[in-house]
């Protein structure tokens, strides 16, 4: 964050310019004190105390996803910034709303606008120059090994479902998924989410194995 990076200017009619960009301002991590965090949990609207942390976790996931879907750099950092701003407003008793989710989304949109302006000003040169999605065989190989271990952690029925759901491609996909949904007595929409939950667990498991150095 704090170091100079080669950048090109792309939001003006300038000739591509290789320059030493000004260092991006480092974002402070969102680290509220316990009392502020408690108030934030109250604010996110979980009526049952036991569910407050879970509600916050899910909301945070939504905010991060929102920034990711917008194609912004550093979604986690932007989520920190969002909750930091929300916490400050809550702390100052400035928020009166029955719809905390909508309020948080509103703040996230503001943060997104500012971040988009920043991102437009500075796009690292190497990100433009690189092949967007080179198939890194070594990395895929490592993930394959990790995936083996993660698949073992699934129930046979879950494994079968996730393989069957994601197997079909192209023209056979729609019919294949409809058939699977029918056989399970559910809708394709519900099946999509069901299969995704299993796949998301696999993805998280692979990532955790890689981070912990287990193959």
């Amino acid at each position: 964050m704090g170091q100079n990076r080669l950048s090109v200017c792309i939001d003006c009619d300038c000739v591509p310019l290789v320059t030493q960009a000004a260092p991006r301002q480092a974002r402070e991590r969102f680290q509220p004190d316990a009392a502020t965090f408690e108030r934030l949990l109250d604010f996110v609207g979980a009526d049952q105390p036991a569910r407050r942390a879970e509600r916050y976790r899910l909301l945070r996931e939504k905010v991060e996803s929102f920034f990711r879907w917008k194609g912004l750099v550093d979604p986690a950092g932007l989520a920190d910034e969002t909750f930091d701003r929300v916490a400050r407003r809550v702390e100052a008793n400035e928020v009166r709303t029955a719809q905390p989710h909508a309020f948080i989304l509103g703040v996230a949109r503001m943060v997104a606008l500012e971040a988009a302006r920043r991102d437009r000003r500075e796009v690292p040169l190497e990100e433009h120059a690189s092949d967007p999605a080179p198939a890194n065989d070594d990395d895929v190989e490592v993930r394959l090994k990790a995936l083996d271990g993660c698949l073992e952690g699934l129930l046979p029925a879950e494994r079968e479902l996730v393989f069957t759901y994601y197997r079909d491609e192209g023209s056979t996909r729609i019919e294949g998924r409809q058939r699977l949904a029918d056989s399970l007595g559910t809708t394709v929409g519900a099946l999509r989410v069901r299969a995704f939950r299993i796949r998301a667990r696999l993805e998280t498991c692979v990532q955790e194995k890689l981070e912990s150095g287990q193959k």
């Binding site: 996803s65 967007p132 995936l147 197997r167 699977l180 995704f196």
Partner: protein
Amino acid sequence: MKTGPTTPAGEMRPIDVDIAFAYLLGELPDDRASQLEDEAFDNDERFEELRAYEVELMDAYLSGELSKERSDRFDTKLKSDPELRARLNTARAFKLKVKAAPVKKASWFATLFTSRRFPLAFATGLAVAGATVMVLWPRPMTDSEVSLRPLAVRAEAAARTVKVGKSTRTVKLELSLDGEPARASWNVVVSGPSGEVWRGAPVKADAVAVQAEVPGSVFTSGRHSIVLQSNGATVTEYELTIEPE
């Protein structure tokens, strides 16, 4: 026109795949994108649905199913998102794993009832069975409820009650082989409450169904099973309850 996230019945209306991909690739007009975001923040199911489409977008990219324009847009996202690049490699690994996994062939039982062709097959079978009944049975035996076709039995996923009286000369069974691998020969065996009551001669079947004509006299009141065998092994079994006419 704006469409709400729920149907008139209050159920969640699924997002169309094209709309979801357009949103995730930044192609949707702002107002429609904002609407989706509002829904995702307000409704956990909607949020999960969009996340599911994120994965499917990666798969479509890897399979080369995206249009050139969309593929280029995805490339642009990849350039600026190292996390997406890592996730794409996990998706590649997952895809390899799925392709390598043996395909568990659905039983013909399951295939038949989950196929979209089933209604047509069912209607055709019913018509054939009805016509057969009309032709083979003497007039007094016009028992319209004799649709002993296994299709009908299985369709109800429970024992089906059929009236068979003394005037019933023949019950024609038709056992569909849709989805079954080819085998040398087939047998149909009927068992009643006191054991096996009828066994058909082996039939060579490379067609879509095995047909058997069972004398009505073999059926007594009570539960019967109709077993489709191949080389002495049971392939599938249906239940049928016979009631006196």
